[in-house]
Symmetry: C3
Subunit: 147 residues, 3 copies
């Protein structure tokens, strides 16, 4: 019982939010930036595990933005609205989250599948390349989103 | 320690499920309705934070339904099946969830980006326009889904 | 208070990860397999609730794989990379997760909508057909992902 109580007490003191980001469409990277930044500002321990298509946007030479086919016609209006509302890009928001302690990991398995090495990732965005087991262990007991 | 125990006890008594709904494709709004309704019926404290494309379906004058391009050919069969099985629409299920206490918030940042004001949202579906920080604080300690 | 402490102690001892899988595109089934397998190997209680398009890939006679339209051009490279990296298919990973105790449920409502009966599902993949209320009750207090 004592062990359980100690674990719980620690978790109450630092809320933990982990995000698995697989979707690499540009629209879904906006909430990645917004939520990470807001949670980090609230003092949450934020951990991001990037995998799948999302890896291609975290490279030193990132892939071109991809949008979901069904919403393509709305992209120009969205981009214009983001600019008019002075909303920072998801890259800027992610960097803000990182400056407040958020960590971003790239999935080692998917990196291998895509032929990507640690030095291919933008070091301003990605802290390390780790396996899903490491990520799950760090995320244990906290909230987890799959984007 | 006493503070931690009190917080925990409260959370055990009322389970909390929060849903961030970003995808505005019509298929993904079905599980939004189903899960909200079922969780509210189970006595969960249900909070929904609508953002991104999903905002366009919560307006007084909602956008036309959008389906993922890759599943478009299956939409007529799905619609027919929903009708044959007497499954209520996601709008009806969301209203049922709300009648049992669920709250629906529209993301203030994305509303601004899309040029939407509080009076543009259907008051039968949206309770308020709030920021992500408010939502995260309300969701703290509970389960969170990203749809 | 005693009741709350007992519930908490049990949850500390067995971490619980539940996954709602709605997206039936083939790319998103990869993290379903990877995460289920890794969590089960870590000793998590893993419960999967398959619904929506994902049901069509869990049948005795499964539908052909579907990929998101916007990433279709990258599928051959991804498939080649999976093979070169010796990554098992999501079906194999899901079976490994099940051999370590993971349970897979098909959503009864969506099965009815799609005209699917329990005997239509591959018994090597699906344990039972249940309602969302049953799933939410089993998932209570643990982490939940929506894929």
């Amino acid at each position: 019982m004592a062990r359980a109580l100690l674990l719980i007490e620690r978790r109450e003191l630092v809320a933990r939010l982990s995000i698995i980001v697989f979707s690499g469409t540009e629209d879904k990277l906006i909430p990645l930036g917004v939520i990470s930044q807001a949670a980090a500002a609230l003092g949450y321990e934020v951990k991001i595990f990037a995998t799948g298509w999302a890896l291609l946007r975290l490279l030193k030479r990132p892939a071109e933005p991809t949008w979901p086919k069904e919403f393509e016609s709305m992209v120009p209006a969205l981009a214009k609205g983001m600019q008019a509302a002075n909303v920072p890009s998801w890259v800027e928001m992610l960097k803000q989250a990182k400056s407040m302690g958020a960590k971003v990991y790239a999935c080692s398995m998917m990196a291998q599948v895509m032929g990507l090495k640690k030095e291919d990732f933008d070091p301003a965005l990605v802290d390390d390349v780790v396996g899903v087991t490491t990520f799950l262990t760090e995320a244990e007991g906290g909230q987890v989103l799959f984007i």
